[in-house]
């Protein structure tokens, strides 16, 4: 569904991406791993049409997006892509439901309809009752779930998530990842996930590692093992 070829991206004299080829399948959950400064966020931004590569191409659903005008790329991001960032990045003056309803509202849907669409996601994400809360009155985990609702509400084809659990404790992080990947799988939405946390990458179907602006490792698609059907290992017990 997304094919990137020969992506090169420079910031001044720094080459952040040095020739990346990557294909993302429909409905795939892909984790992009790698050390800080390796280029993983730059790669995500190029795939999502936020940044334009200096050379190479990004094709989404058969059409190039790297040579679209700013307005066209912006429209594509508003209608086909959802975004979840490390710190929910909700608008503090708006209520939770108003935040989640923003994308359809910007796409010309009426306020009532946009909030009704967002409200359906509040139910699915365990946020019922929090609709009227301001962003600052939400916990970190709740804010990220509102961000997931905001990303899902337009029924995107791809969700781009950059360190979505980076600011959360372990348990809230697990809940956010459970909800994000379960909702995406139910809706057939692909997820491109930047993370340096292996526990978060374990929610993906495939992991790639970016190092020095190149893909240094592609783990290939995961097939559940027989062990997954049996149960967890007995790790607590050392025979007496």
């Amino acid at each position: 569904m997304i094919q990137a070829q020969g992506l090169i991206k420079r910031f001044g004299a720094t080459e952040a991406l040095r020739g990346v080829d990557l294909t993302i399948e429909r409905g795939e959950v892909l984790a992009i791993m790698g050390p800080s400064g390796s280029g993983k966020s730059t790669l995500l931004h190029c795939l999502a049409g936020v940044l334009v590569p200096d050379s190479g191409s990004v094709v989404f659903d058969g059409g190039r997006i790297d040579d679209l005008s700013d307005a066209k790329r912006s429209e594509l991001r508003r209608t086909k892509f959802g975004f979840v960032f490390q710190f929910g990045q909700l608008i503090p003056e708006l209520s939770a439901i108003e935040n989640a309803a923003l994308p359809p509202l910007l796409n010309g849907v009426s306020r009532a309809e946009a909030e009704s669409q967002a409200g359906a996601w509040f139910g699915r994400l365990g946020l019922s009752g929090l609709e009227g809360r301001r962003a600052g009155e939400l916990s970190g985990g709740q804010a990220q779930r509102v961000a997931i609702a905001r990303a899902m509400v337009i029924r995107p084809r791809v969700i781009f998530a950059d360190e979505p659990t980076g600011s959360l404790d372990s348990l809230s992080g697990e809940q956010v990842m459970d909800l994000l990947t379960a909702s995406a799988r139910e809706e057939g939405v692909a997820v491109v996930l930047v993370t340096h946390e292996p526990r978060v990458a374990a929610y993906a179907d495939r992991e790639i590692v970016v190092r020095d602006g190149r893909i240094s490792s592609d783990g290939g698609r995961y097939t559940p093992s027989i062990a997954a059907a049996i149960g967890p290992p007995a790790v607590l017990v050392v025979p007496a």
């Binding site: 459970d178 526990r199 929610y203 190092r211 997954a228 290992p233 007995a234």
Partner: protein, 176 residues
């Protein structure tokens, strides 16, 4: 050690037969490979010898006699002490992975392939555990979490090692 105290801990709830005790143990601590009956009875015998459990009742229907074991005050005290004592922190430095990494660097072989392969294998196992945990009962979910965090610690070490490979080669290679 932990089998002994786990059985004591299970007996603290109520006096129980060895057979039932084995099943409780398997359910909480070893869902994928159960504790052998022989080990349960040998452990109970030893605990009885040390005065930490006592036979509360002997029942006999048609088959062999069935002993119901109960924890004693000495057993309660020993369990309490064990639960309150921190475990010896044991870094697993002698693991096969560590040996492989050192040997790979010493021999001048490519380390990336080893680390990438291991990362992939670890992540595959973490995915198994992550998907399993979604539908698991709480004790199994806790067990899966425990394994996931340990695998994650390995992976963090793998990433750190990958980042330090040049330094490692210079140091280990220099000593060789």
């Amino acid at each position: 050690m932990s089998v002994t105290y786990s059985l004591l801990g299970l007996l603290e709830e109520s006096p129980t037969h060895g057979y039932e005790l084995k099943h409780q143990f398997d359910r909480y601590f070893a869902p994928d490979h159960g504790l052998p009956f022989g080990q349960v009875y040998a452990t109970l015998d030893r605990l009885e010898k040390h005065g930490r459990v006592a036979v509360a009742a002997i029942e006999q229907d048609e088959g062999p006699e069935r002993r119901k074991y109960a924890i004693t005050q000495a057993g309660e005290d020993a369990l309490e002490q064990w639960l309150n004592e921190p475990l010896e922190p044991e870094p697993h430095l002698r693991s096969a992975l560590f040996a492989k990494v050192v040997l790979t660097v010493l021999r001048g072989r490519p380390l990336d392939r080893l680390l990438d392969g291991q990362r992939h294998a670890h992540l595959a196992r973490m995915r198994d555990l992550t998907s399993m945990r979604r539908s698991a009962a709480l004790p199994q979910a806790l067990l899966a979490d425990y394994a996931i965090f340990h695998l994650e610690a390995d992976l963090r070490w793998i990433e750190m090692t990958g980042a330090r490979v040049d330094e490692l080669r210079a140091r280990i290679g220099g000593e060789a």
